[in-house]
Amino acid sequence: MLDVRIGPIELMNPVISASGCYGQALESEAFVDAHVPGALLLKTITLHPRAGNPPPRIVEVAGGILNSIGLPNKGIERWLTETFPKVRGHASRLFLNIAGERTDEWPRIAARIGATPGIDALELNISCPNVEQGGLPFARDPETVARLVRVVKNETPIPLIVKLAPESPDIGGIALAAQENGAIAVSLINTIRAMAIDWRSRKPKLGYGFGGLSGPAVKPVALRLVYEVARRVSIPVIGIGGIATADDVLEFLVAGATAVQVGTAVFRDPRAIQSIVDTLPTLLAEANVGHIRELTGTLRMPGSR
């Protein structure tokens, strides 16, 4: 009663790990079998290795956290040769999240991955800042995103999911651009750019200055955006933002999502995804819902347009 479909990909359940919150390999297996999430989605991999930002990289705020981790990773070459062999075959589905720091890096990462068997989908982290554009995210306008999806698609047959940034002025337009250029799904939201300040020292609390807000505090924003985007596109929407319980998952489905990702919640409870997957059938049965798919997009808006 939990299986869902994202384009050509069948998932045993709709609960996916969120990029950057579930490691780059099988770290999560310390607490939960990597087969438990519908798909294991790992931290962003870039073309070149990155050290990441100076600490402090995470601070707590009311209802969540800010992070400025800075995408530390080994780079796609070492990830594929050193890490991937240990991960391959250990998850129900394996999704890889990638990002380019310059326009020309996107096709190069995609080409390196090519048709590698064992990677079921690529999620494009278009919130990543473009160093050529003074750090503006790639996600800022539909044309940029359309071009990016096309060049990546030219280099790899692996299905593409485009991960949307909540601040994009035209998030619906960007989602449509992703759909028209062959993405199988869009996922949202990435973190919301934010700050925390220590007024006494006149310094930001994060080593990098700015960070991204995540956790329960972003859930209402994410629900609204998922609702709006799901009305604009016909491809599946993957909801992300502050999900910590099975009830949260079902709220996102009613808003229009087909699947969800769980991020920050696994820091507080490493077993969060296991608990959610275990609880979903009970909630559905109690509400007389035969299959989880029946819930997607069933929100009854007052005076709905």
Binding site: E27, P56, E60
Partner: protein, 267 residues
């Protein structure tokens, strides 16, 4: 590794600012000294939002003790937990210590609440599960005042040698624990394992470097997850393969104990 709700069995205050919290854990759990656990109060799900790392202070079948010093809201709410309540525990996590060099005298250097991981170390040694070689371990324990030599009686009761210092001279030698260390290093070849506030650990590392003595530090880096998935707990480690000359390791899964000579120190 498990994550579980652990009923609080007792809370023994160590005035003025610390407490020993004893909780029930699954019987089969084993622990290596210097491993730690991530703790949170299930009732305070919104703030502090993240769990906090604590060394397992003492491990008995079915029970763990934590020595908690109140420094902020997270430690405060955990230190307030009373029998009848439960805390949420994820662990043990991190790499434990199971052996020390056999040909050198093991010297533990603890500052204040940095004493926490040493009790399990000496107990496991007494039980024959940590290999120390033949020499009697020496513990150097420093605190600002006598009150901050937490639970000192438990350590002086062990078959180890204990030397203390306090900043105000209220107990043991007056001054810093590094002075005790400098003296101890003149007594013969040693191997140093240290846990305490950052400035103290840097000073200990410097003393050991000058004396050509191996030194390991158990770092108290800020953590979010504690099991390697978030990359919050970045520790600067020297690495010539990188253009900047260092890389970031994760304190939680690569540590918490690091060889002092490999670290890029803040000062």
């Amino acid at each position: 590794m498990p994550a579980f709700h652990a009923p609080v069995l007792s809370n023994r205050e160590l005035p003025p600012d610390a407490t020993v919290l004893t909780v029930a854990i699954p019987e089969h759990l084993t622990l290596e000294p210097f491993q730690f656990a991530m703790l949170s109060m299930p009732a305070d799900a919104n703030f502090p939002f993240l769990p906090r790392p604590f060394s397992v202070y003492d491990a008995r079948p079915g029970q763990w003790d934590f020595l908690i010093k109140r420094v902020g809201r997270g430690t405060g709410s955990l230190a307030d937990a009373r029998p009848g309540e439960s805390i949420y525990v994820a662990g043990p996590v991190g790499n434990g210590i199971t052996k020390l060099p056999r040909d050198r005298r093991p010297i533990g250097v603890a500052g204040g609440v940095g004493i926490a991981p040493f009790l399990a170390l000496y107990r496991e040694w007494m039980a024959g599960r940590v290999d120390f070689g033949a020499q009697k371990p020496l513990l150097l324990f420093g605190g600002r005042t006598r009150d901050m030599l937490y639970d000192l009686e438990r350590f002086t009761a062990l078959p180890i040698e204990v030397r203390c210092s306090t900043d105000d001279g209220s107990f043991g030698a007056k001054g810093r624990v590094t002075a005790l260390l400098e003296h101890a290093l003149t007594e013969g070849p040693a191997d140093v394992l240290c846990c305490g506030p950052d400035p103290m650990m840097e000073a200990v590392a410097a003393v050991c470097a000058r004396a050509n003595t191996p030194c390991r530090l158990s770092l108290e880096t800020f953590m979010a997850c504690g099991y390697g998935v978030c990359n919050a707990c970045a520790v600067k480690v020297k690495d010539e393969r990188f253009p900047q000359g260092f890389r970031y390791d994760r304190c939680c899964v690569d540590g918490p104990v690091f060889d002092a000579a490999t670290l890029v120190h803040a000062h």
